[in-house]
Each structure stands twice: as C-alpha cells, then as structure tokens.
C-alpha cells in the first residue's frame, strides 16, 4: 500500500491511487472519479498524460507496462470511450483571472445577519446575509462559533439574494449563484468551514457527523435522513465528545478529522428520542425548512457536553440507516471501494488548493467501515459502541 502523504504531485492533472483491492482515478480539476481494476489501472498508468502514479502499486507487483494503449482490444476501446465521455480525458481549461464583481451584491438590501465568527486559532470571519429565513438558519447553526462583537474580521462572507435566487460570496467574489435557499445554506456553511478552519489542513469535507469515543473519532456518514445526526447527539448525550454535525473536515493526513462544532440540527422526528439527553430541546426555537421542522442544539453551553478541538484520530466509519420497520439491527462490514462509493454518492467532496484523492483513500484504506441498519436509537447506540469497543 502506498504510504499516506499529502505531498502528491500538485502539478499533475489526475491521480491513480490504490483503494482496497482496486484503484481510483481522480481528475483534480473537474472531480471526475472512477474505480478501476488492476488491468485498467496498469494500462492507464503508462498511457495517461499528466497522471500522478506515485501512489499507485499494481496488485501483482508488475512494473508499469511500457507500451501505450494500442486501442486494438474491444475492452480497451470501451474503456477509453468511457473515460472520454465522462470527462477524464478532457483538456484542462485555460487559466483566466477572476475579478471581484461590482457593485456590492447586497446593494439595496438591508442586512438581516451581520456577525463575526471564529473557531480556535483561525481567522475571524464576518458573515452577512440579506434573507431573514436563511439568516435565522445560519445564525442558529453557527451560534457556537460566534465571536465577540468587537472582533476584527479578516474574511468577508455574504449571502445575497434577488427575487429568484441566492448567492454566496467570499471577499466579494462569487462562490456560487443561482441557488435555492436550502442549497445556499449548505454552500454557505461549507464555505464558512473553509474560511474558519486552517486552509491547508483540510483535504475533504465529509457529509458526516462525528463524535469521539475514548479518544478516537467515530464518523457517521451517509445520505440525508439516514439518522446520523440523531445517533451523534444520542452518543453525546451518553458522554461522547462532540466534534461535528453534518459537515466533518478530513485532515490532509487522512488519518484524523478536525472538530467543527456547529450546532446540531435535530429534526422533529428525533425530538422525543433525544429529549432525555437534551431537556432544553423542547424550549428551543423551531425553524421551518419546507415541510421540515428543525431545532438547533448547541451541545457546548454550560459544559453540558464536552466539545473537541483540533485533530482526532479516526477509529471507524459508519453509514447508518434508520429502519423503523425492522425488528433487528444489521451490521455489515464494507470494503474501502464500497465506502468510497457511498461517501461520494452522498455528497462528500475533496477540497483544498491542490485537490488530491490521496487523503481520502488513506482514510478509507485504514479505517474499518460499516453499514448499520438500526430500528431505534437504543439499538443504534449499542451497535456503534460495539464497533468502537466502548464498554
């Protein structure tokens, strides 16, 4: 297995990296990602211009074949056709400067939110928002990171809106525009994480919640509605250290995660299950997002629950699935390839100035991954404690 490192060749267009018993091909610029078998990987290693193979080791130990793909084999032709059609072989886009947009995008709107946030030793970030509903959601989620009012800020973030859509801006440069409100919330929180946390330390933003048990991080990842926030808060309720909800930064080493303790969003279906752990839940303000009702729980006030800071070594990766109709808990070990597919399919993304898939594959190669189907919170708690070897 290639040694984990964050020093992959940043000049390369793409990477070929071992993951589990297979390999993955990753384009840094357009995020194209594929799993390959040994035959395809070995073939590409010698024929893909700009491919970083420093983390690639063929399964059978062969040296990279010297001959180029001749295109004679139907399988080879099919592979190349698929690579071409999915954007893996596209020419890199030309570099062009990006200028700030003028005038001020919130001109004509009054600011509903104007707060400075800070986490640990990171830079203070000023967030402004012109939409009342969105401002409420953002302020509630970011409450634990609110800085003193007098704090001088280094980075400006803005959520603007016109009659039809929302935009998220950083230093007066658009991150994304044409968004609906819910997407703008997600993009803004992702962008805030990248602004508040050490910029060189994050290799991926996992769509996951996270706690520490006995000093090791349990990453609960997966699709929307899987129950990861509920399990996370239940674990915090019985003494686990809270690290993150819904947005977990993966350290560039691939061996640890960073704490990013936003207030946890607890949906109405979980209120009764978590009431015993967080009695204040019933008194919290309810936010409406579409048909959903959400309350934001800050686990940290008054020392009610420990909140971690810095890096925490990863112990396990779990993809929960809340299955209230089932009678039994089901626990199934996943291969690194399966875990990669599930992570990417549920919205986790590689980030960073020199985007590299290596930290993510290191994480998956070295972290046991499980799929957990649980019919109720107590069963889910029992299962994840067993996975982590907790008493």
């Amino acid at each position: 297995m290639p040694a984990p490192s964050s020093s992959a060749n940043p000049a390369s267009l793409a990477e070929l990296v071992n993951v589990g018993e297979s390999f993955c091909l990753f384009r840094r610029d357009n995020h194209a990602l594929a799993l390959l078998n040994d035959s395809a990987a070995t073939m590409l290693a010698s024929s893909f211009d700009g491919l970083d193979t420093s983390r690639f080791e063929p399964r059978d130990g062969r040296a990279h074949p010297s001959k180029k793909i001749d295109g004679a084999s139907p399988c080879t032709e099919a592979l190349m056709t698929q690579l071409r059609s999915e954007g893996f072989l596209a020419a890199p886009a030309p570099h062009r400067p990006c200028l700030p947009l003028l005038p001020e995008p919130h001109l004509g709107h009054s600011l509903v939110l104007d707060e400075v946030y800070r986490f640990a030793d990171g830079p203070p970030v000023r967030l402004k928002c012109v939409d009342e509903q969105l401002a409420g959601l953002l302020a509630a989620a970011l409450t634990p990171l609110r800085a003193a009012e007098s704090a001088a800020h280094e980075i400006d973030m803005l959520v603007s809106s016109d009659e039809r859509s929302f935009g998220v801006w950083r230093q007066r440069v658009a991150i994304a525009t044409g968004l609906d409100r819910v997407t703008a919330r997600r993009i803004c929180l992702q962008a805030m994480s990248m602004a508040l946390l050490p910029p060189d330390g994050i290799a991926a933003l996992l769509h996951a919640s996270c706690v520490a048990l006995q000093g090791r991080a349990l990453v609960l990842a997966g699709a929307t509605g899987s129950g990861k926030s509920t399990l996370t808060m239940a674990l915090v309720g019985i003494g686990a250290t809270y690290l993150a909800d819904d947005l977990t930064p993966l350290h560039r080493s691939g061996k640890s995660v960073l704490s990013f303790p936003l207030a946890a969003s607890v949906k109405s279906g979980s209120w009764s299950a978590l009431q015993a752990y967080f009695p204040e839940l019933q008194d919290l303000e309810t936010y409406r997002v579409g048909e959903l009702r959400v309350r934001y729980v800050d686990p940290s006030p008054a020392g009610s629950a420990p909140v971690g800071t810095g890096n925490v070594a990863v112990g396990a990766l779990v993809f929960p699935a809340f299955t209230p109709g089932d009678s039994e808990t089901s626990l199934q070990r996943l291969t690194p390839e399966e875990a990669l597919s599930l992570l990417v399919g549920s919205g986790s993304e590689v980030v960073g100035a020199n985007r590299s898939i290596v930290p993510l594959t290191t994480f998956l190669n070295e972290t046991p991954a499980w799929r957990l189907a649980f019919p109720d919170t107590a069963s889910g708690l029992q299962a994840v404690q067993k996975i982590m070897g907790a008493p």
Partner: protein, 76 residues
C-alpha cells in the same frame, strides 16, 4: 417515528454527486459487493463521479478551491 420526519434539511445534490437512479445504485453496489471489479481480468471501470457536469475553469476564484462549483456557477 416516520422516516420522513427524521430527514435532514433537504440538500440539493448536483447530478454528478447524487446517485442517478435506484437502478444505477443497485448496479454499482452489486458490482462492488461481488468483487466483480477487482476480479475482472479485462480492463474494467466504475465511474463514481462524472467530470462533465462541472466544467471547472482554472481561475483565481477561491471558490474552486472549496470544491463547491457544482452548486452553481461562479462569478468568473
């Protein structure tokens, strides 16, 4: 407690990050679970994310470094 009540905030997943259909997800899972990909002697590939949906310009916009370009277009 219904599953819909437990839903997270609805999230917009770009077409390239979401599973395109249940059929695709099942096919992908079956291929991975059976080890069919690694075991195949012929060259085989399973695309997890297409590069077509995010034509990313190489520019100075810090947004590109955030990996957020799928959600919309940038200002550049």
């Amino acid at each position: 407690m219904s599953k819909s009540e437990q839903d997270d905030l609805p999230r917009h997943e770009g077409p390239e990050t979401s599973v395109k259909s249940e059929h695709d997800a099942s096919r992908r899972e079956a291929l991975l679970k059976m080890g069919g990909l690694a075991a195949s002697v012929a060259p085989a590939m399973l695309v997890l994310t297409s590069g077509n949906a995010s034509a990313v310009p190489a520019c100075d916009n810090p947004a590109w470094n955030l990996g957020l370009q799928r959600a919309g277009h940038s200002g550049c």
